[in-house]
Amino acid sequence: MVDKHKVDKSMADNTKADRVGIIIDGCRYEVDAGENLLQACVSLGLDLPYFCWHPALGSVGSCRQCAVIQYQNDEDDSGRLVMACMIPASEGMRVSLQQETARQFRKTNIEALMTNHPHDCPVCEEGGNCHLQDMTLMSGHIKRGYPGTKRTHKNQQLGPFLNHEMNRCIACYRCVRFYRDYAGGTDLDVFGSKNHLYFGRAESGVLANPFAGNLAEICPTGVFTDKPYSRHYVRKWDLQTGAAICSNCSLGCNINVGERDGLVRRISNRYHAAINGHFLCDLGRFGYEHVNLGRRLEQPLQRNNAERATERLGAKAAKALLTEIINQNSSHQGETDNTQTKAGCIALGSARSAIENNAALLRLVGKDNFYLGVPDAQAAMLRQLCDAYSQGRVKPTSMKDIEASDAAFIIAEDISHTAPRLALTLRQMSRNAGKAKALTFGVQIWQDDAVRNLTQSLRSPLHILASHETELADVATQNLVLPLEGQLRLLRAVLALLTQTPPTETHTETQIDPDPLSGQAGEIVADLLAARRPVLICGTQSNEPELLRLCLEIAERLQARPQHDKDQTGFYGVTRHANDLFLGLIAQAQSLTPSPLGIDALLSRLADEPIETLIILETDLYRYCDKDRLDKLLDRVKQLIVIEQQLTPTAQMADLLLPASSFAESQGCWLSAEGRLQFSFAAMPAIEGRAQAWQWLSEAREQQAHTQTQTQTQTQTQTQAQDEPRGRSELIAWVAQALPALAAINAFAAPLEFKTLSPFPIARQPLRASARTAIHAGQHVREPQPPADPNSPYAYSMEGVAGFRQAQTQIISVLPADAWSPKWNSDQAGSLRTALLQSPQDSGLGLSEGPPEPGTVPAPGADPGADAQASDCWRHGICIFSQTEPGSIPVTVSAPEATTAAQSVAAQSADVLPAGVWPLAPDANRYADAELACLGDAIRAAMPEARVRLHPESADKLGLVQGDDIRLSRYPSPEDCESADVCLSCTLDAAVAREQLLVPTPVFMRLGHLARVIAGPHGTQGGEHD
């Protein structure tokens, strides 16, 4: 009561309308109006335990752990027990966390929760990373009073990603709420009643939902644990952690990579409000095992043709050799300056390698000799996207904003497979209509149960145009399943309705007979126009630039619609690889060339002229080209230099093969499909023989610069460690200059300048707690010196700023290393508190007048936009197109006609194709299409068998039945060599569009849009199964 007088009058006056003052245990705090009291308490840094609540899942009031005392008025001094998660914070509310009744209730509650919990912490993989341990300790339950026996359950085999240990379950319901309600899964449920609840499948089997891996994080104890992690398990406190960016797709999700002893042990979610939030897809979480493969390249290799042998080289020797090869060419090039008749050195960049690596290569060979590591059609589409973004015609939208949209149209992109986390976002988007309805009933949107009961089957409009029914079909308003030709027709109809003029390209049929698709197009347009924040999702999956052009035009038209003040038009262009958009920016810079310089262009150049040296960066050409043809073309190259992580078929052709470090050992910038430039830190140092491409190339570059005057100097006196930071910052400066759209990259030029609020680096390892330091005791009792890491604010050591103490939560959140504190020890609690404490602008929360914890620093500026670029770029990334107004970035725009030059014959209706020729469409699979990730055991186990999917009617036409083999060959067949056939078994599926064949993405990338079906059902079985 006394404390009431402490309320600062002036502060109360300044209170914004959406902030309210509440009194907790006599102290006044300011929190957001209407947020639930539990969230408010946790945001304030107060210790209030909970289980069933989750910021992304909302409140249901099932666990009863967050009980507090609420007083009715100033006179009330006994109060009544309420669940903090179920009541909204309101002005003047007076509550107590510490009152004895509440404390006692919470203690009894956790004791009740624990009545059936096994005493297996020492052998439980959750131990040390367990929310239940933390909350038990926090609630003060120490001694077991329950005298009964414990119930036991049988566990299930849930597939390659998760372990199941039901005896540990405390029935918080988070797993089913996430799996079913949030992620749309159907094969996990709760069975039974009383304290015999069973959370699992109806019977053992692989969990089908692609976000199941999140159960390992969302489960507050060890029921669901990470199975690949358990195969090489170490305790959480033994992990060395790096804050990285996932490179498995183009979304740029933030991840923590945990390493020990040279092996990546696990990947966990790193909260990013605008991208992944609290959840990752299974590909991102489990797709790391390729890093640990024993067969990964460890040492540079040189082909010695004379002796028909492969020689291993030391790193230094390899660099020298590389320098020699390149300089021979560059001097050669110097002689034939500008004539371009005989290229000395050409290079192929990589869409799955960091910006630095591509930039170093680009600088080395010049932009006319630099080819983008994607097919020409893809390159054209990437350039279309970049052009639209940099001219400000269309603005890419963050996933957070997409989640807040009220209508969406997904166009010819199977995002459940090409960008899985985005599919989860759209699933949440579809719930917004229900949330809006709940608000009209006065129900807060975090009241999860109430909102769902009000929502029932109400969904925000979501239209999906695809060549087959996608995994989002269950929440879609309209599933339009059409072959490419039909998709284009529908998009033209949509565009026509948006422009209210007849389509530019009128088909004769449409004049006679109104297009049967115009009705569906009308529904789409009506929903998009009725929405305040409609969003278009499209991408490059179709491999058809014309389709993307239509999408962009629709987005522009939609943007031009009459709008209210806060209305927005969202757009997201999904690309196939992590750094695709960066290649698009390079394509812009190359815009003088008539057509994009993709893989097809490279191959024709290889066919047309003899090439002295070809450097291939982390691209496997055999994924895009027939083997016979490519073998011949690569044979024509005198020196083939490949920089690659794995021994891919392309790497096997190399004359000089340089091992590239993986994402876990690399640091560098990535440009996501949203145009968000992010920095990825390494979790571990690369071994001696591996390096990032820009490091391999740095010496060659320096030599090249001096090559005209100097003879080769064998030795560099500077050590690598001193050399690198300068080399990198110089490279970054060059990129910023060469690609104006990417000028913001300068912010990442010098990681050392990153503000750690301390002169010391942040330790990647937690404090000495177990046997970590004994790893090398087998070799020597002396501890080796930790590897230097001059490029980063982190150290490969336990020395430095402890990024894992509660007192330094600020630092944790800026770049989470590893959270550890006695009360909030688990990852999930850490990331949750990180989200709440550190991102006031993201979560709508912030530290207010609470008693500051010792050692905390003030919260970052509450205004997101103002200072985000300067200090927050390391945490949030930089959206390079966010400030773009039309014309603000100078770009040479190629005429739209040029981009559609690659338009293929595929857009033709099936009936005008020659007999036996069928249109193909890509059947994306998140696991099988992931070039590196699918090398790992867990992902490989999740991969489906490659097959052709087709509509039963199409099968009838072809005389095929389920399981028959179907043999496909490229159409038209290439002139220079015979095309190899692809033979796959076929699956009949009525959810696939008629008049087309759905083939696995790798097959589609090789065959293109059309294929000749050259063998029917009982054809020869000799074909190679793909």
């Binding site: 099932s62 009740a112 059936n116 005298p147 009964g148 026996t149 009643s193 109430a450 009961n453």
Partner: protein, 458 residues
């Protein structure tokens, strides 16, 4: 007549009363149609006794008029909670702008230990329920009615199904009923069988095909219930009151009660009494009259130790409370609840610990598993009671039991199941503490109910 049990077993041989029943307002409206030994559940019998007169009157009145009468009648929910029916109904959106469809649900999932009153009404007067439902539909402009019937009530299901068919045929012959019949459809939904389905929001979830977990409130079902639409859930007996309130008027109904509460109620007594059964009696009938007059008093050789006044989930009362009138507030003032009005008698030869164990075991088993105090607290109490009953109890167990009662007190749990479940336990600890202590000091059950406790503990 007053002390004649109305229970249908055994059937009385009393001659039929052929006098027209509605010449004078009845004193026992709910059972006025019931003729032991006759097929009183048929439409013909119901009509012959003056059935559907209430509906007839209701059809001539406006929705506001009807709601006013229900509110003025002070009818309170007969399912156990005693919430004023008129007030509940007033929360349902009305008028042209109200969401549609609107649902009415008859909660016929009678599973309270000791309660068998709804079964009697369901089996004997299915038309009375249908009439009540139709009056409610007329009042609230509802579109669909569901009778959520306990799955084990086979006979009731059969008679209700027949009655519904009869009613529909009757509507076809009677043009005046056409519009109502066309608008309002009635369905019977037999429960898969859980005690928790008696909780109205769990019932709604069950009807939607979901787990029968109670829902978060708000929104209350009246605003957003079944399929997110406005829904009223009332007990069978509540619906049965409606035809009579409309037929005979509010003043008559108010005059029926002896005390504060209006109308009559079907009371029941089970246990070692001479004549266990059901009686329709005025609200406010004293407990003593119920046990000693209507139930004929305790069986010879047994004396009354205590009783649960309103079914298995109410607090024990004792000899000292026998003069309490059976109405909602009076029983509440004694620290218990009127509940379903079906009284369970504990005699002096039966072990109170065993009785409480039996009840707690039931409630623990029926917990839906949603919230911790119920899911884990009740089984814990069951383990402790088992331990006591097996003679292995310790003094600290009683403290723990008391702590568990506080743990599952109203407000700490998600719904009313666990607070109800611990009511007999907490009151037994208060009134029969000596028995609990004797189990500890003697190291066995003084009543020798060795079979009462299964050996869960040990």
């Amino acid at each position: 007549m007053n002390d004649e049990p109305v229970s249908n077993e055994p059937v009385s041989d009393e001659p039929m009363n052929n006098a027209p029943v509605d010449t004078a307002p009845p004193t026992k409206p709910l059972t006025r149609f019931i003729r032991p030994g006759e097929a009183c559940w048929t439409l013909a019998a119901y009509l012959a006794q003056g059935g559907y007169r209430g509906l007839e009157k209701a059809l001539g009145q406006s929705q506001e008029q009807l709601l006013e009468q229900i509110t003025a009648s002070k009818l309170r929910g007969r399912g156990g909670a005693g919430f004023p029916t008129g007030l509940k109904w007033s929360f349902m959106p009305r008028g042209a702008s109200a969401p549609s469809p609107k649902y009415l649900i008859v909660n016929a999932d009678e599973m309270e230990p000791g309660a068998f009153k709804d079964r009697y009404l369901l089996e004997q007067t299915p038309h009375q329920i249908i009439e009540g439902l139709l009056i409610a539909a007329q009042t609230l402009d509802a579109d669909t009615g569901y009778i959520f019937l306990r799955g084990d009530y086979y006979l009731a299901q059969q008679r209700l199904t027949t009655a519904l068919a009869e009613w529909q045929a009757h509507c076809l012959e009677n043009p005046a009923l056409g519009p109502l019949n066309a608008k309002f459809k009635i369905h019977i939904h037999t429960s898969a069988g859980r005690y928790i389905c008696g909780e109205e929001t769990a019932l709604i979830n069950a009807m939607e095909g979901k787990r029968a977990n109670p829902r978060a409130k708000p929104p209350f079902p009246q605003v957003a219930g079944l399929w997110g639409k406005p829904t009223i859930v009332n007990n069978v007996e509540t619906y049965c009151n409606l035809p009579h309130i409309i037929n005979f008027g509010v003043d008559w109904y108010l005059s029926l009660g002896l005390g504060q509460d209006s109308g009559t109620k079907i009371f029941g007594v089970s246990g070692r009494v001479k004549r266990p059964g059901l009686w329709e009696l005025p609200m406010g009938t004293p407990i003593r009259e119920l046990i000693e007059v209507h139930a004929g008093g305790m069986c010879d050789g047994y004396s009354l130790k205590g009783y649960l006044p309103g079914g298995g989930s109410t607090d024990f009362l004792t000899q000292a409370h026998l003069d309490t009138p059976m109405d909602y507030d009076a029983v509440g003032r004694q620290g218990s609840r009127l509940g379903t009005g079906t009284l369970i008698v504990l005699d002096d030869s039966y072990c109170p610990v065993a009785m409480v164990l039996n009840l707690i075991r039931f409630f623990a088993q029926e917990s839906c598993g949603w919230c911790t105090p119920c899911r884990d607290g009740l089984p814990w109490a069951e383990v402790l009671l088992n331990k006591l009953e097996s003679g292995l109890g310790e003094a600290k167990d009683l403290d723990q039991l008391e702590a568990l009662c506080r743990f599952a007190a109203p407000g700490t749990t998600f719904c009313a199941l666990a607070p109800g479940a611990v009511e007999p336990l907490q009151s037994a600890l208060k009134y029969f503490r000596a028995d609990f202590e004797a189990h500890i000091t003697q190291g066995c059950c003084p009543y020798n109910h060795s079979a009462a406790g299964e050996q869960h503990y040990g």
